[in-house]
């Protein structure tokens, strides 16, 4: 079973991100379950959502306590919410930011993980450029597909098209693809840096 936890703020599409990932996994023949933590949703409030992907039917209903991958849609949350709770050093962290870890106070968290397992993507900038709105959720799914290969980019495309229509779908698919290429490129460099020999 592969477990993903999403952190973001109300209005960023945190719940939709988990749902889209589950649809992508479903389309690839996997069993998947997505659900939110159930706050009184309001714009800007911290929101958490979960997605489990497995080859077998999923029975558990407990929140994802020890994620295999963590997707943070708003990096400023690290100072407000214990987003790294239950993360093992071998887990994958994907953070939406174009700023440096130093600027955000992220270095102390980054030190806990292997360098290639703590990765950032400027998803909001990509979303603004491609979608015209600061909605990083679909973008982060494209990035996640490149980062942990738990679902294919084609499945992410298809999940986005299943949910949205017309230009909104097209733009989100484009943004997700660009994020995929970004991670593919930058992640390759990161791995090279981490293992110079």
């Amino acid at each position: 079973m592969f477990q993903v936890r999403f952190h973001g703020r109300g209005g960023q599409g945190v719940v939709t991100a988990a749902e889209l990932l589950s649809v992508a996994a479903f389309e690839e023949g996997k069993h998947a379950q997505a659900f939110p933590t159930f706050g009184s949703e309001r714009t800007g409030a911290p929101v958490t959502s979960f997605c489990r992907i497995a080859d077998e039917p999923i029975r558990t209903r407990e929140p994802v306590l020890a994620p295999d991958a963590l997707v943070v849609l708003d990096a400023t949350l690290v100072n407000q919410v214990d987003v790294f709770a239950g993360m093992r050093p071998e887990g994958h962290v994907l953070i939406n930011t174009s700023r440096s870890y130093e600027e955000l106070g992220l270095e102390r968290f980054a030190l806990r993980f292997r360098p290639e397992r703590f990765f950032s993507v400027p998803a909001t900038e990509l979303a603004l450029a491609r979608i015209g709105k600061p909605l990083p959720n679909a973008v982060m799914l494209g990035a996640l597909a490149a980062y942990v290969h738990v679902v294919s980019l084609a499945a992410v495309d298809s999940a986005i098209r299943d949910r949205f229509e017309g230009p909104t779908a097209d733009r989100n698919v484009e943004a997700a693809r660009e994020a995929y290429r970004y991670v593919d490129r930058e992640f390759g460099r990161e791995v090279l840096r981490a293992s110079p020999d």
Binding site: S22, A32, Q33, F35, F38, I58, R61, P63
Partner: protein, 413 residues
Amino acid sequence: MLRQIEGSRAVAETVARCRPEVVCAYPISPQTHIIEAVGAMVKTGELSPCEFINVESEFAAMSVALGASAAGARAYTATASQGLLFMMEAVYNAGGLGLPVVMTIANRAVGAPINIWNDHSDAMAVRDAGWVMLFAATNQEAADLHVQAFRLAEEVSVPVMVCMDGFVLTHAVEPVDLPEQEAVDAFLPPYQPRQILDPDDPMTIGAMVGPEAFAEVRYLAHARHLQALRRIPELAAEFGAAFGRDSGGLVRPYRCDDAGTVVVAMGSILGTIKDAVDELRDAGHAIGVLGLTTFRPFPLEAVSDALARAGRVVVVEKAFSSGFGGVLSTDVAMAGIPRPVEVATVVAGLGGRPVTKAALAGVFEDACAGRLAPLTFLDLDTGVVERELARMASERRSGPSAENVLRDLRARR
């Protein structure tokens, strides 16, 4: 067709395929997605003929459903928590009159303190209202139970509540094989009312009944429940043959055959319980699970049979009766009467508290070792409770407990 779909959406689409003719509801979390989706289908004409009636309260929602049902229409509504309690008088009337309304409950805690999250307090509060009460363990079952609910309700002339855990199921996206329209039509014939308000053949429904016949009319409602008890497994079998899935029925035993300890529960918590029980089985404990799909009528015999070989029974429930303990536990203990077993209650998941496999495995291990207390509140923060009790003991004007507890938690974070 198997789809990756939100629980509320799956239920809404299934309800639409049951062709309700009148739908009325008042929005309340976590039920709202269901009724919004049904409303949208009425508006687009996807669900037709159907009248969607906006009402001003839950009391009106149930009253309109009653009226529609008495006029011979297939009527549906959905609610939760305070909404269910607000419609209480009409809920009892539906039960007493034997009008086959079907209602989804997106189970949620009842205030105070106000809380929008899941537990079973709302359903337990209407336990005695004369409704058949079915509990879904998964979204697949939630969808399937609605098809069976309409058939059962109309056949037996009894209202049916389908309970599904609010948020945990209603807001979860998972695979659901939605019952196909043709198969639903074949399974669910048009409604043939036993009693109908018809201007061409005037009659009254809802006579005042005095001491001379009240007990008899009430007994007849009980008799309808006993009839439902016989029909529920038959309908589940018929559903299984038609849809190729095992859904509904009275109880669902899991690894019970040689189990010395059996865990009894209802609803979505059964999934996590089964995972915990598998772990304990791997560690050599003879433990099993009995899931209850039907809570009213209570399947005494089926529960008794399933617990016949168990030495210990642990009832995990998402509600409790202040000053006493478990609600479901009381019924389960009744089933054990031929050969009394030790029944322990574990109250879990109140007000949306996550129930983890680790916490459940802990109490199940205690149960297997014979050291589980008769009443346990899972993961209770006793420190917070003790400090509030101390405040109350030390000063008369200690203030509201809810606010004190929240302040205490914030200070210690």
